[in-house]
């Protein structure tokens, strides 16, 4: 590997870069979807890409852990024969914001603890990730600074920062370096460029402030005392249990496993499909007992799965601050408001900043 | 049943007519050589759509009336939209009209294929349904299903699905085809040509009952060169011509007690609409390939044999396929303007202007002209609604045909007579689920 870690890409070379990149292997990038939304889609040219963009409807999670994914192909004519399969091909994702990088890091942890999920891991190895820095807040729903996801901290092969008439590009892995070599449009960064980058990060530290008056180190402690707090009652009053919040979350990974039988009544597939803990039947058992019957319990579960339970298991928050759940909720349930209420109801404690 | 040579008494009752859309019965009662009853009764449970439309937004009418009939769901939607736009004073863009024409072609094609292969063919093959044909004429059944599936796939791309189209609404389309969609549609439709040729060839080998009755044929007519389906005036082979707004004069509907459908008449006691009527009125405007097919089938205007409606359907199928391909090629060359996509929402956002008014839609659907007529208030709410269905327009004519046909077949066995009568009714491709919607709407308490 070269010892240079930072390169430059002139803005005017950007479209050439994208079209070359798209020729190497399939390339996904944020494109406009509808009036106010964006989505990661396969692209072949730079003019399809929307830069800047606010978080896409679905996070890039969909490439690592697809909405619907075949786990086994079976053929009972061959005596209960089953072949476990995965579908994966090499691809590049361009333009992944720091929040979504954090989301991928969370999923990496979940799917690599034993028993491992090889379907995920195979796909993960085949995807090249190119990050893209947010110079400003995307909108009022984001809370990336609260969870330390506003600045890059790994999880990418290359990382782009827009510095006016050029991008400065951090090379993090050999795969990233291979792209630099293959595309041949980069020049090594100079000291002045690095200073520009440092200046941007400095400015970001001021602009991206912890959005909620909370010391994030004590979030788990705040959650520890809030299980029976009145906050959840308020969510219960409003939530429709539509499941939008969990479907768009970059760190939600609940799924259902189903079988599909072909009309020969012998062959078919076993597949998994995204599921949501917000739906009523999710935790119901055969006897009819439902252990999270109320919307209250289900909403609370969602929050605890972001700020409390994974902290104990993986030592990190499973909220990336992308703001998708707040954006997607038609009932207007906003994560930052919920946290603020938690603090005010949690009384005095170290969490209060 | 023995074959009596000359009958004085005949009593036929087909209680539940099969291989037609909806429930109908045929009753023939002849005493002492005198035909006392001869009727096609519609016994479908009425569904009262006209009543249900009252108080609903005219922007919802398309969605609801599409559910009158699954076979010509697109036709009902198109007629409904035309009526709504007429009432609101909206003029659709040229691109919208093109796409709608494309859709209508596909629906007519799909419906004709269904009718020719799955509903009529068993009659000609002397079997009860297409099921035995799966074994005896497997390739034929496969061809039919393949052709239907192809139409369906194209409609799925165009409007989301054939049965109850999704993206087709007042003002235009909520989703427009992308270049790759056009390419796919083009591929599928050009791929249909060999099957279509085979269909014409097959039909040219078949013989239909030899029967004629001088009839008045009614259909849309126009002064341009287009085979009129989506727009035009009302015209008849007796020389009638009137604006679509005057449709009530052309469809003097009246109730008969034995049927939940109403009957109609124009210049004479009855008239016919549908493929044969359109062919008789507008054959000169058919696509050259369709005219070629007519020649191959020996179908010549003015044809007064109702059994040959099936052949007219085949000729129209060729026309629809070819014209659909032309439309797609045109769209490919000029490109689809995506900015014309309309926003749905029952006009919640008032993207389309609303004014009080009255509007009529007249569209040639597979079985003939379909009229929708709405009166809306200044909030776009429907005050009165009325739908006149092709099958209703044909009912009297079918009965007249039966009256004329029976004396010519009296030498046959009762079974054979029944079969011939059923075949006659089926040739009209009656859509009985549609026909339970009646005219003369009066609103109580309004």
């Amino acid at each position: 590997m070269h010892d240079i870690q930072y390169y430059l890409l002139k803005k005017r070379a950007f479209s050439g870069f994208i079209s070359r990149l798209a020729k190497v292997q399939p390339l996904a990038a944020p494109v406009r979807r509808g009036e106010k939304n964006y989505a990661f889609e396969l692209v072949t040219s730079a003019n399809e890409i929307s830069l800047p963009y606010i978080p896409t409807i679905l996070p890039p999670k969909k490439y690592f852990f697809p909405q619907r994914e075949v786990l086994l192909e079976f053929d009972t004519r061959r005596g209960l024969h089953a072949g476990p399969v995965g579908v994966a091909g090499p691809m590049t994702i361009f333009g992944v914001h720091t929040c979504d990088l954090a989301g991928i890091q969370c999923l990496n942890m979940v799917f690599s603890v034993r028993p491992r999920d090889h379907n995920y891991l195979i796909r993960k190895r085949k995807i090249t990730i190119i990050g893209l820095e947010c110079n400003d807040y995307c909108d009022e729903h984001a809370n990336c600074a609260l969870v330390n996801a506003s600045l890059p901290s790994g999880g990418y092969d290359l990382f782009f920062t827009d510095l006016g008439d050029y991008f400065i590009v951090h090379v993090n892995t050999q795969a990233g370096d291979d792209i630099i070599d293959a595309v041949k449009q980069f020049q090594p960064a100079k000291e002045a460029n690095l200073q520009d980058l440092a200046a941007l990060r400095e400015r970001k530290r001021v602009v991206f402030r912890n959005e909620v008056a909370l010391d994030q180190r004590f979030l788990p402690a705040l959650f520890d005392i809030s299980f029976d707090g009145p906050v959840w009652k308020d969510l219960d009053e409003r939530c429709l249990a539509c499941g939008n919040c969990t479907q768009v979350c970059p760190t939600c990974y609940c799924f259902d496993i189903r079988d599909e039988l072909n009309l020969d009544m012998a062959t078919g597939v076993r597949y998994r499909v995204w599921d949501s803990c917000q739906t009523e039947p999710f935790a119901k058992v055969a006897g009819g007992e439902n252990f999270r019957k109320s919307r209250l319990a289900r909403q609370r579960h969602r929050y605890y799965r972001k700020f409390s339970y994974p902290f104990a298991k993986f030592f990190r928050f499973f909220c990336t601050g992308c703001g998708r759940c707040s954006r997607a909720c038609m009932a207007g349930i906003k994560l930052k408001e919920t946290l603020t209420s938690l603090i005010s109801q949690g009384g005095e404690g170290p969490w209060k900043r | 049943m023995g074959a009596e040579r000359t009958k004085k008494d005949l009593n036929i009752r087909v209680d539940c007519l099969t291989r037609v859309e909806g429930h109908g019965t045929i009753v023939v009662d002849m005493k002492q050589g005198k035909l006392e009853t001869c009727s096609l009764n519609v016994v479908e449970s009425p569904r009262f759509f006209e009543a249900l439309l009252r108080g609903r937004s005219v922007f919802e009418a398309q969605h609801i009336t599409s559910r009158i009939c699954g076979i010509c769901a697109c036709g009902h939607s198109l007629a409904s939209i035309q009526a709504a736009e007429d009432a609101l004073g909206l003029t659709p863009t040229a691109q919208t009209m093109r796409l709608r024409r494309l859709l209508l072609h596909l629906e007519i094609l799909d419906s004709h294929i269904l009718h020719i292969y799955l509903l009529v063919m068993p009659d000609l093959a002397g079997v009860k349904s297409f099921v035995p044909l799966i074994h005896t004429h497997n390739e034929l059944v496969r061809r039919a299903l393949r052709m239907k599936k192809a139409c369906n796939n194209v409609m799925e791309v165009l409007v989301g699905r054939h049965v109850h189209p999704i993206s087709l609404i007042v003002g235009g389309f909520t989703k427009l085809p992308q270049p790759q969609d056009l390419a796919m549609m083009h591929d599928v439709l050009t791929g249909l040509r060999p099957d279509m040729d085979a269909t014409i060839e097959l039909l040219s080998t078949l013989t239909f009952p030899d029967f004629e009755r001088e009839t008045e044929y009614v259909g849309l007519v126009s002064d341009d060169n287009e085979y009129p389906l989506l727009s035009g005036d009302i015209g008849s082979s007796d020389g009638v011509r009137m604006k679509k707004q005057d449709f009530q004069k052309a469809t003097n509907e009246y109730i008969v007690p034995y049927s939940s459908a109403k009957h109609t008449k124009l210049s004479r006691d009855s008239f016919a609409v549908g493929s044969l009527a359109r062919f008789n009125l507008n054959h000169a405007k058919l696509h050259p390939k369709a005219s070629g097919a007519a020649a191959a089938l020996n179908l010549k205007p003015k044809c007064a044999n109702p059994f040959l409606n099936t052949l007219a359907q085949a000729v129209e199928s060729v026309h629809c396929l070819e014209d659909a391909i032309t439309i797609i090629e045109d769209l490919q060359s000029v490109g689809v303007n995506q900015d014309e996509q309309v926003v749905v929402g029952v006009n919640e956002r008032m993207t389309l202007p609303v004014q009080a008014g009255e509007g009529v839609g007249a569209v040639e659907v597979p079985r003939g002209i379909l009229y929708h007529h709405y009166q809306v208030d200044d909030s776009g709410t429907i005050e009165q609604a009325n739908c006149v269905i092709p099958t209703n327009q044909n009912l009297s004519n079918i009965e007249q045909d039966m009256r004329a046909l029976i004396p010519t077949v009296l030498h046959k066995s009762e079974e054979e007579i029944t079969a011939t009568l059923e075949m006659l009714v089926r040739a009209y491709d009656p859509c009985i689920s549609c026909s339970t919607h009646l005219l003369d709407v009066r609103f109580m308490g309004r």
Binding site: L71, L72, F74, L80, V85, G89, L261, A286, G287, R292 | -
Partner: protein, 278 residues
């Protein structure tokens, strides 16, 4: 996108064959199963397997036999839904798929040398039967064994013949009770909790093992605590909706624990503060 055969997939099933079925009640059947290649399942009492029928689905089912029975194992299944109903249509000779065993079973090492008070409600006898058989097969290693069983009606009693055998043994005490009964029932009628006060036990060396329908736990635990059994000596097994069995799919999660991996067997002291547990 290419299709990749995943050799080490954790979703791959092991083939198994039903060798014997026994109808216990109209709804419950006992299946004896042999793994392909006559391998041993090698489970712990209290563990469960995922039973798989292609084209229908999978269902978590407790192993109902003791690991001391090495050549085959048994499951007791109640027909409630897709998989369980389809399973009931199968017979000896039919093949099924198996994943697992999964989860943490009963802490049998810790039980050794101590007394057991086993409380089973309804189908809860299935995993407990594995424990009871194990204890009986290694009877010397354990202290007193007391079994309490509750059912809806006498017709619902599972393993009635085995229960009778156990009842005849001098080294096990067992009692059963039903919610409702016809005249010819001579045993007690009422809730299972009513049996507990009468049990003679030394709380400091007794483990209370409870498996039954969700509603049962609260009341039984209350009685056991009243007998001064310490919280960490009350052992429970939970039933939760499960799909993967590997701590991922999220259905079986009770607050921060996954029933499939961290359980299904828990000490009361570890879960008592969890409101979603009961």
């Amino acid at each position: 996108m290419e299709k990749i055969v995943i050799s080490e997939s954790n979703y791959q099933i092991r083939k198994a064959r039903i060798v014997r079925t026994k109808k216990l009640t109209p709804l419950e059947t006992l299946f004896e199963i042999v793994l392909d290649g006559d391998r041993s399942l090698d489970h712990e009492p209290g563990q469960f397997i995922m039973v798989s029928l292609f084209g229908i689905g999978e269902a978590p089912i407790s192993v109902a036999s003791s690991p001391t029975m090495r050549d085959s194992f048994e499951i007791c299944v109640r027909a409630v839904g897709r998989v369980t109903k389809a399973l009931h249509a199968l017979d000896a000779g039919d093949e099924i798929g198996i994943r697992g065993p999964y989860g943490k079973g009963f802490p049998i090492r810790i039980f050794e040398g101590n007394d057991l008070l086993i409380v089973a409600g309804g189908l809860g006898i299935a995993p407990l039967r594995s424990l009871i058989q194990y204890v009986l097969d290694n009877r010397r290693d354990f202290g007193k064994a007391h079994l309490l069983l509750g059912c809806k009606t006498p017709q619902d009693i599972l393993f009635a013949d085995e229960l009778d055998q156990w009842r005849r043994r001098m080294d096990v005490q067992s009692e059963y009770i039903v919610d409702r009964a016809e005249q010819d029932w001579t045993g007690p009628v009422g809730l299972i909790t009513t049996l507990i006060p009468g049990v003679h036990l030394e709380p400091e060396r007794t483990f209370g093992v409870v498996v039954g329908p969700p509603v049962m736990y609260k009341f039984v635990i209350k009685e056991l605590l009243a007998k001064n059994i310490p919280e960490h000596q009350i052992i429970l097994s939970f039933e939760r909706h499960m799909k993967c069995g590997m701590g991922k799919c999220g259905r079986c999660q009770i607050q921060n624990i996954y029933t499939c991996q961290d359980g299904p067997v828990f000490r009361y002291s570890a879960v008592k503060h969890m409101s979603e547990a009961f």
